[in-house]
Amino acid sequence: MTILEAILLTIVTASTPLLIAALGELVTERSGVLNLGVEGMMAMGAACSFAAAVTFDSTLLGVAAGIVAGALMSALFALVVLGFAANQVGSGLALTIFGLGLSGLIGAPFVGARRDPVPPIDVPILSDIPYIGRLFFEQDLFVYASFALTIIIAVYLMRTRSGLTLRSIGENHTSANALGLPVLKVRFLAILFGGACAGLAGAYLALVYTRFWSPGMTAGRGWIALALVVFAAWRPGWLLIGAYIFGAATVLQLHAQAAQFGLPSQVLSAVPYVATIVALLLLSIRHGRAIGAPGSLGSPFVPDR
């Protein structure tokens, strides 16, 4: 394995959790709900998956626990913003703070434990292709799942009836309600999906990326996932590209630090976050507004009966 290959492999590992969490948030936002709690849901996914995986010695149960934890957190958010039509920004921020705190509590007994690596799945023949073979065809299941999920969500949103309904509700919930589309039900399911994806992304972090638990290990990845959705203009295809650009930025700054670049390590660690701000800036300068933003994004819907 060359150094280049090793770097590329770590980029894939760093990008996958961003992609999975951002895909979930993209679906939630396309339905018109802004959930700023991704970071908290990811942290809960990571803590619960690691706790379950260590306790039952099962990666599968760990992943399931992560997904369920993320979904439960989002259900709490849904209750507040759909049931009580509360402010989505405030509720989302509260969810992040709550999730970070609760995950620390759940994870506390497991600090110091380690998990074995999840074995990669080798696609025969294709993985023998020089350079890209091992990169793309000898990865863990999550990586394949994240690519599949991107395609499935793209097809779902643009090619299916249910996807059209979801987009309509996000675009204009008043019109959607007047046409008889089930606004609250669709939004509830979209929030749950977003939570499950964030939980899965957290599970990936704990079980594959680091293979241990430490409080605050999500390290702002939830926020990057949120920024990615805007960066991708709410399109799954661009999200895939964006996730890999940001994943690469995260990994390359580590290597730049190792190579004694002469800059303080803090500056290099800040690169992915600065890149997020610059990307958002460039986008809004170019389009004069957040292009592609669902029309009803962030505004609560109160049915008029």
Partner: protein
């Protein structure tokens, strides 16, 4: 009072004793209404009479507090628009229920109840378009379309479900006279094919053109069911309003003096993605006259208002001159200090802050002049001013100094207009002064605009309501796609001429807009 329509069999739909209560307000009070198969039935009433509430009940959007709906003689409950559509009801909303960023085909597909794919939606769309002369491009995004085209989407969307009853809520409010005539042709054709139509409007001429029966609502109650062709417009209006309506009068004749506002070669690029560019606007308003700006919604009215008020500044200072001072590059407060005043279209959120009290809302336009000093609010002065506005413009308030959002549309509009008029500005610019307000408030507002001009101010009224402009304006121009027609005395305009200008077909060759 009931007009007799002989028919065999039960009516298609029958409403009995429908009531809807919102807190203390009885929006609908024991309404009876029946519609025969193939009939075009008018539902007439002023804004706030309960028309929209009634059709939302019929379409299953809101639940009635009491009453019964019978469909072909059978009692039914319509719990949702989906149930309404499966019965055979179709609805064309006043404020379109469309999705701006999606294509025409997607907008239609989303409302279909059966399975579809976009290819079949496209082919059925083109069939319907041909049959009824409703031309539409399936792949255009809705935000690129005119109001008339958007309405066609709503109509086609209904027709694809083979409706038995089509409900149209104020369908012509956004159309040019020519587009409206085209719509009437389509409705006649549908009616001849046996589709019933419930036509909601407050425009008498249209109702007389289309319908043989009209139910008139006032303050949530049915006051009469009549044959609109057998009654005069004045009689119907009296039923709608409750008493003989006075006309707006100007005692003093129109004696224009010096120029107060002059706009020369004003160009401005659009503010947003979907905005309209202003192209070479020329306009003069003199002291003592009311200038009317007509046009179909979305032709640059809000952009023109923003440019005149200083919400957006022009690139040349001399493009806008107020009271002899070049102020194209001045902001809105600087222009107010030149004794100009502005009332934007949106009452709630633009002209007034919804959760602020009326006294606090005086700050929005008076902070530059009288209710603040050295950055501090003069609370008592603000309260006094709010009280003065409330009493001189007959603003009915639920309490002494309520939040702006607690006022009804008409009362809030009286407040935001009164707030400017009370200063006796030399120049007043108003966008849509009476949109969605009741007849009484509209009359008071129009009268105050005329009175202000006769006291020596220049008044510019931007409005989509042609009747209003013919009533108040001394000179008028039409805005179309960001260009303004020449100003002509109101007596030289006919409705047909205005309609042609609204469509942009009356423009001289070469002066037409490039896209």
């Amino acid at each position: 009072m009931k007009a007799d329509v002989s028919s065999s069999g039960p009516p298609l739909v029958e409403l009995k004793g429908i009531s809807k209560r919102y807190g203390d307000l009885l929006a609908n009070d024991g309404i009876d209404l029946s519609i025969e198969p193939g009939e075009i039935h008018a539902l007439l009433g002023e804004n706030g009479a309960g028309k929209s509430t009634l059709v939302k009940i019929l379409y299953g959007v809101i639940e009635p507090s009491a009453g019964e709906i019978r469909w072909e003689g059978r009692p039914v409950t319509i719990g949702s628009p989906v149930e309404a559509r499966s019965l055979g009801l179709g609805m064309v909303f006043q404020h379109f229920s469309l999705f701006d960023e999606m294509t025409v085909a997607e907008n239609i597909a989303v409302a279909l109840s059966e399975d579809w794919n976009l290819a079949t939606v496209r082919s059925r769309l083109s069939d319907i378009s041909r049959t009824y002369g409703l031309a539409l491009d399936a792949d255009r995004a809705v935000w690129t379309l005119s109001a008339g085209e958007r309405q066609r989407i709503e109509i086609v969307r209904c027709l694809l479900q083979n409706p038995r009853l089509l409900i149209l809520d104020e369908p012509t409010s956004v159309l040019t006279p020519q587009e409206a005539e085209h719509l009437f042709g389509t409705l006649d054709k549908l009616s001849a094919e046996g589709c019933s139509i419930l036509y909601i409007s407050h425009k008498l001429e249209e109702v007389r053109r289309l319908c043989r029966r009209a139910t008139i609502l006032r303050a949530g109650r049915v006051v009469a069911t009549i044959d609109p062709r057998a009654s005069t417009a004045r009689e119907i209006a009296a039923l709608m309003v409750g008493n003989e309506i006075g006309e707006v009068r100007s005692d003093a004749p129109h004696v224009p003096q010096g120029d107060v506002l002059s706009v020369t070669h004003l160009n401005m690029s659009p503010a947003g993605l979907h905005g309209i560019a202003l192209k070479d606007i020329n306009l003069v308003a003199r002291a003592g006259e009311v200038i009317g700006i007509a046009g179909v919604a979305g032709n640059g009215q809000s952009e023109l208002f923003a440019a005149l008020s200083g919400e957006r500044v022009a690139d040349r200072a001399d493009a806008v001159v107020i009271a002899g001072q070049a102020c194209g590059s001045m902001g809105i407060d600087a222009r107010r200090r030149l004794s100009a005043a502005f009332v934007p279209e949106e009452r709630l959120g633009h002209a007034a802050a919804p959760t602020h009290r009326l006294s606090e809302n005086t700050l929005i336009s008076h902070a530059a002049t009288e209710v603040s000093r050295s950055g501090f609010i003069l609370l008592n002065a603000a309260k006094r001013l709010a009280r003065a506005i409330v009493s001189s413009f007959d603003v009915r308030t639920p309490e002494g100094d309520p939040q702006a959002r607690k006022l009804s549309g008409g009362n809030l509009q009286k407040f935001v207009i009164g707030r400017e008029v009370i200063r006796k500005p030399k120049l007043l610019i108003v966008d849509q002064p009476t949109w969605g307000v009741d007849a009484g408030a509209a009359r008071l507002i129009r009268q105050s605009l005329i009175d202000l001009s006769r006291d020596g101010s220049a008044v510019v009224v931007v409005s989509q309501d042609l009747d209003e402009l013919f009533e108040v304006a001394d000179r008028m121009a039409v805005i179309h796609h960001g260009t303004l027609s020449p100003l002509k005395p109101i007596g030289e305009w006919t409705k047909e001429a205005v309609g042609l200008e609204m469509l942009g077909v009356a423009q001289v060759p070469g002066g037409a807009h490039a896209v």
